[in-house]
């Protein structure tokens, strides 16, 4: 399935069984600059849409990753602990943050498609 986007520059990729993969967009990584540390959420922890789930530290500053959807964390990208710059190099691939099991799949309908997201960037 194709990616969905939030206004906070996160992407969500629907997988099977109400599970989504979550990361930040190319635009977000470019704005943040060199990422040096990522603090990921704990597996099994639950969040509401818009809660802070992760902290992204660039050389410049710390910023929060907000939960793009409500649900519980089923997996995190452990590789980011040693190689946080992967988020800069491949934000929509190897630089993913976590997998969330949706508690309310209908929230996906409120996210933007690629055309909608591109429109807010201009």
């Amino acid at each position: 399935m194709s990616l969905k986007y939030t206004a906070d520059h996160e992407w969500v990729k629907p997988e099977a069984d109400d599970i989504v993969l979550v990361g930040i967009t190319e635009h977000a990584q470019e704005m943040l600059g060199d990422i040096v540390f990522v603090e990921l959420p704990e597996i099994d922890s639950s969040f509401n849409q818009g809660d802070d789930i992760s902290v992204i530290e660039s050389v410049k500053a710390a910023s929060e990753l907000k939960a793009p959807v409500s649900g519980s964390i089923v997996a995190i990208n452990e590789a980011l602990a040693d190689e946080p710059a992967t988020v800069n190099d491949d934000p929509t691939g190897a630089g993913w943050f976590c997998r969330i099991r949706l508690s309310d799949p209908s929230e996906l309908d409120n996210l933007m498609d690629e055309a909608g997201y591109k429109a807010i960037l201009t």
Partner: protein
């Protein structure tokens, strides 16, 4: 402050042309980074040469029959014996012994040339004018200030201005660069060898382009300037120093020559001398120190330092990621009893405890050219 009120340096167009990400800083439009990125700019400066626009800083000349002696009434520093064509780090102190700004003072032969921080320059100018009544204090509004820093800075400068090649760290002199009157000091704010060059505003763009045309030189933004100075253990005014920190607390006693101390020939006579001498004799209650941070999470300005039992013992004043160290780096103030190198403390970051150890500064070796 809104965008329109921000001032532009003589290199503003060049910054935009080079893709600089512009921010407001001390009332100026300044580039925080270029497309190379903070990490890349930092590493480039340490390995080759970085060009910095620091034209926002205040450049001041002080003329007067006894300018050097008069200036000593404002700083706890030996200015009278400062040799012609050399420069020195100094501090403006206040009546409480606190630091109102840090600055560079050059003996230009028949006058003093002073460079002060951008955010303090109006206050500093007023301070000098009202206290140096026998001197003519003039802010040079029509000059840019560029810094060329890094191991290749000297060879690049030697190609453009050969007379710089016999300068050593803290030398300062007027230079003629293609008929343009410049002043250059062999110093900087990165811990590397390099130069700071004052040049007429209308010649700055050409000069910067000429430097950038050299293979080794890249334009560097404020972001890398901050990470470079932090690794080098250098203070940022308004963060690591302010009007409540004394030179003793700030661990800047090296900048106070013996001749101005309590038993010196020209002891005291600067604002706050009693407080500072008292701290020198009896110790201050807190001290600025550097920290190694355990793990990868940066510990930033404002983070509380604790003794591990939940008692607050200090605070981080500058912190971030050190690209040369490939690790977080920080400095801050701690109660005196926790200031010994190796002391283990805890920094609170988002309510998590991050282990830090008091460390020797600078974190990255300074590589000044002392001849």
């Amino acid at each position: 402050m809104n965008e329109e009120q921000l001032l532009k340096t003589p290199l503003h167009d060049l910054h935009l042309e080079l893709g600089g990400k512009m921010v407001g800083f001390a009332g100026y439009h300044m580039p925080v980074q270029f497309p190379l990125g903070i990490m890349g700019e930092h590493k480039h400066t340490r390995s080759k040469a970085g060009l910095f626009d620091v034209s926002h800083m205040g450049q001041v000349t002080i003329h007067g029959a006894n300018a050097a002696l008069d200036f000593e009434s404002l700083v706890p520093v030996d200015i009278f014996d400062l040799k012609p064509l050399t420069q020195r780090y100094a501090l403006f102190t206040n009546d409480q012994g606190g630091i109102d700004d840090d600055l560079m003072v050059s003996n230009a032969g028949d006058h003093l040339f002073v460079v002060v921080n951008a955010a303090c320059k109006d206050r500093d100018l007023e301070h000098m004018r009202s206290n140096l009544s026998d001197c003519n204090v003039k802010m040079l509004e029509d000059r840019a200030l560029l810094a060329l820093q890094g191991p290749a800075a000297a060879s690049v400068m030697a190609r453009i201005a050969p007379e710089t090649s016999d300068m050593v760290f803290m030398d300062w002199r007027p230079l003629d660069i293609n008929g343009i009157r410049c002043f250059a000091g062999r110093a900087g704010y990165t811990g590397e060898d390099g130069f700071e060059i004052s040049i007429p505003a209308d010649a700055a763009d050409d000069f910067a382009r000429k430097l950038l045309a050299e293979d080794e030189v890249e334009m560097i933004g404020l972001g890398a300037r901050d990470s470079l100075r932090l690794e080098a253990g250098l203070c940022l005014y308004g963060h690591d120093l302010d009007s409540t920190t004394t030179p003793v607390e700030a661990n800047l006693l090296w900048s106070m020559q013996k001749v101005r101390r309590a038993d010196g020939e020209r002891a005291g006579g600067f604002p706050g001398a009693e407080v500072i001498f008292n701290q020198l004799a009896n110790g201050a209650s807190r001290k600025r120190v550097g920290f190694d941070v355990v793990g990868r999470a940066p510990v930033r300005e404002g983070a509380e330092l604790q003794d591990g039992k939940g008692n607050k013992v200090g605070q981080i004043t500058s912190g971030g990621f050190g690209p040369t160290l490939e690790a977080p780096v920080a400095m801050g103030y701690v109660s005196n009893e926790y200031s010994t190198i190796g002391t283990g403390l805890v920094a609170l970051v988002r309510n998590r405890e991050i282990k830090v150890n008091v460390a020797k500064m600078p974190m990255v070796e300074q590589r000044y050219h002392r001849g």
